[in-house]
C-alpha cells in the first residue's frame, strides 16, 4: 500500500508545509492548555470573604488594586496573542515564498489532465516522438524538480500528493502549475481533492519516485510502441480490440487504435492499478472491468461489453502482454 500522509514528507515542499504545521500545532496547543488551565482555576477558586461578612457570601464589590492588576493581565494576554498571530503570519508568508521558489532550469515537465474520473499524464518534450503519454501513474526522478502543468477537460479537479506537496486545482480551460521534488525514493498515493462527481472517491493515482537510472529505463520502455502479439491467442485478442468499440476511446500505439477519450493502453500491463487506483491490476480485475465496469465504478464512461468468452480471454491475453 503506497504511503499517503502529509505527516511523512518525502520532499522539500511537504517538509516546509509540515514544519509550519507542527509549529502552529505546538503553539496553539500550548495556548489552548493555558486557557483551559485558567478556566479550571477560575472555576475552582473560591472568592475571599469580605471582612465582617459571613463566609458563604461572595464579595462582588470591585477593589481598586485588584482591578488594576487584572487589567494588566488582560493587556498582556492581548499583546501575546497579537505577537503570536504576527509570528504565524510571517512564518506562513515565508513558507509560501519558499514553496514557490523551486524554479530551476534543469527540470522535468509533466502535463496532467483531469478527466471524470482518471488522470491523463504526459511528459513534455520538444520532440514529439519523445513525448510519453500514460494514465494514473506518474514516475519522477528523485532529487530533481518537476514542473506539473495541470488542466482539466470537464470539471474542476484537484491534484494532491500529501507526501510531496499541497493541493493544486485543475481548472478547465486554464493551466495551473505546481512544482515539486521528491528527495526520498518511494511510491506515494495521490488523490483528487476537489469533489468532481459520482466517482470522485475513486480518482486516485500513484507517484513513483525513483533514481534517475530507473526512471530513464521506465521512460524508454514507455516510449516504445505496444508489444507485438507472440502467440495466436494474443493475436486474436488484438483483433478483438481493433474490431470492437474499444478503439473508439482508447489508444494503443503501434496499432490503428488512436482515440484519446479514455486512458492510453499502450503499456497498460506495466501499471500497478486499474481505473484510477480503484483496482489492483490483475487478470480477473481487468476482465471484470471490461465486461461490467458499471458494477465496479458506477457512472464511469466505460460501457459494458458483452464479449464472447473466447474473445474475452483472448483480449485479456493481449492486454496483459502490453508491458
Amino acid at each position: 500500500m503506497p504511503s499517503q500522509s502529509a505527516l511523512h514528507p518525502a520532499g522539500p515542499q511537504a517538509g516546509r508545509i509540515i514544519s509550519l504545521w507542527w509549529m502552529m500545532f505546538y503553539v496553539t496547543g500550548a495556548v489552548f492548555l493555558i486557557v483551559m488551565a485558567f478556566l479550571v482555576a477560575a472555576l475552582a477558586r473560591r472568592r475571599r470573604p469580605y471582612a465582617g461578612e459571613a463566609a458563604d457570601v461572595p464579595d462582588v464589590r470591585p477593589e481598586a488594586a485588584r482591578e488594576r492588576r487584572m487589567s494588566h493581565v488582560v493587556l498582556t494576554g492581548v499583546g501575546l496573542t497579537v505577537v503570536i498571530l504576527f509570528v504565524f503570519l510571517i512564518r506562513s508568508y515565508v513558507t509560501g515564498r519558499a514553496l514557490d521558489s523551486l524554479h530551476e532550469q534543469d527540470h522535468l515537465t509533466v502535463k496532467v489532465v483531469g478527466h471524470q474520473w482518471w488522470w491523463e499524464v504526459s511528459y513534455d518534450n520538444s520532440t514529439a516522438a519523445y513525448t510519453v503519454t500514460t494514465a494514473n501513474e506518474i514516475h519522477i526522478p528523485t532529487g530533481r524538480p518537476v514542473l506539473f502543468k495541470l488542466t482539466s477537460t470537464d470539471v474542476i479537479h484537484s491534484f494532491w500528493v500529501p507526501n510531496l506537496h499541497g493541493k493544486m486545482d485543475l481548472v478547465p480551460g486554464h493551466e495551473n502549475v505546481t512544482w515539486l521534488k521528491a528527495d526520498q525514493e518511494g511510491t506515494y498515493r495521490g488523490q483528487c481533492a476537489e469533489f468532481c462527481g459520482h466517482q470522485h472517491a475513486h480518482m486516485a493515482f500513484t507517484v513513483v519516485a525513483e533514481p534517475y537510472d530507473k526512471f530513464k529505463a521506465w521512460y524508454d520502455a514507455q516510449l516504445k510502441p505496444a508489444a507485438e502479439p507472440v502467440n495466436p491467442s494474443q493475436a486474436q485478442g488484438r483483433q478483438v480490440f481493433l474490431s470492437s468499440p474499444c478503439v473508439m476511446c482508447h489508444t494503443i500505439r503501434g496499432t490503428d487504435a488512436g482515440s484519446r477519450v479514455g486512458p492510453d493502453l499502450t503499456h497498460v500491463a506495466s501499471r500497478g492499478t486499474l481505473a484510477a487506483g480503484t483496482l489492483e491490476n490483475t487478470r480477473g480485475h481487468l476482465g471484470g472491468w471490461v465486461v461490467d465496469s458499471q458494477k465496479i465504478k458506477p457512472g464511469n464512461r466505460m460501457p459494458p461489453n458483452n464479449l464472447e468468452p473466447a474473445d474475452l480471454q483472448a483480449l485479456l491475453d493481449y492486454l496483459q502482454s502490453l508491458k
Binding site: P245, Q294, K295, G299, P304
Partner: protein, 199 residues
C-alpha cells in the same frame, strides 16, 4: 422582534389550519427527492431480434400489427443524458444537427422514414441507411446505441418530460431578439475596441 415572534407563536398556537397545510406542503416536497434513481446498470432490451426488425407496415398478405419495444433507458434521465452526450461525441450533430436536420433528416419532428419504434431506431443506427447514414456496428456497443435511441426519441418528445434532458452542456445562444433591450446608438468614436488595429 421578540414581541413579533411571540405574537406569531400565539396566533398559530391551537390552530391547526395555520400549521397543517404548510407542513403538508413541505412534506410533499420530499417526494421529489425520489424522482428517480440513477440506474447505471439497467438492462436494455436484447438486441438480437433487432437484426430482423420490420421497418414498414406494408407487407404482402394480411396486415400484422407492428411490434412495440420497451427501451428501459427511456425511463431513466441519466441514460437519456448519456445518450445526448454520445449523440454529440459520435457526430450525429454533423448531419442531423441538434434535431433540426440539414444533411440528414430532422429528428425533432415525429416523421420517421425507417420507423419510430426503439428497435427500429436501434437498427437504423447499427445497420446504417441509404443516402448517407453510416453504420455504427462495432463503433458503439449495444448499450450505447440504446442510450442514443432513447435520446433520439426524446428529441420529438417521445419520452416523459421529467426524463428528457433539461439543458445542454454547451453554451446556449443569446436570448431571443424580442427580449433584447433597446440600446442608444453610440454617436462618435465609432470604432469599437475589439475592431481597433492591433498596436
Amino acid at each position: 422582534m421578540k414581541h413579533l415572534l411571540r405574537n406569531i407563536v400565539d396566533a398559530v398556537r391551537g390552530r391547526p389550519a395555520f400549521i397543517l397545510p404548510p407542513s403538508a406542503f413541505i412534506l410533499l416536497l420530499f417526494a421529489s427527492c425520489m424522482r428517480e434513481e440513477r440506474g447505471f446498470r439497467v438492462s436494455p432490451p436484447p438486441s438480437g431480434r433487432v437484426q430482423t426488425v420490420r421497418l414498414t407496415e406494408l407487407q404482402p398478405g394480411p396486415a400484422q400489427p407492428m411490434e412495440v419495444t420497451q427501451n428501459a433507458y427511456e425511463q431513466n434521465a441519466y441514460a437519456v443524458s448519456e445518450g445526448k452526450r454520445l449523440y454529440e461525441q459520435m457526430n450525429c450533430v454533423g448531419c442531423h444537427f441538434h434535431g433540426g436536420g440539414g444533411i440528414g433528416p430532422p429528428l425533432m419532428d415525429a416523421r420517421w422514414i425507417y420507423g419510430s419504434d426503439p428497435s427500429q431506431i436501434f437498427s437504423t443506427i447499427v445497420q446504417g441507411r441509404p443516402n448517407g447514414m453510416p453504420s455504427f456496428r462495432n463503433k458503439l456497443n449495444d448499450d450505447q446505441v440504446w442510450k442514443i435511441t432513447a435520446y433520439v426519441r426524446s428529441l420529438s418528445g417521445q419520452v416523459e418530460k421529467d426524463v428528457a434532458p433539461s439543458r445542454s452542456d454547451d453554451m446556449s445562444g443569446p436570448p431571443p431578439e424580442s427580449s433584447t433591450e433597446k440600446k442608444p446608438p453610440v454617436k462618435s468614436g465609432g470604432i469599437p475596441k475589439s475592431a481597433e488595429m492591433p498596436k
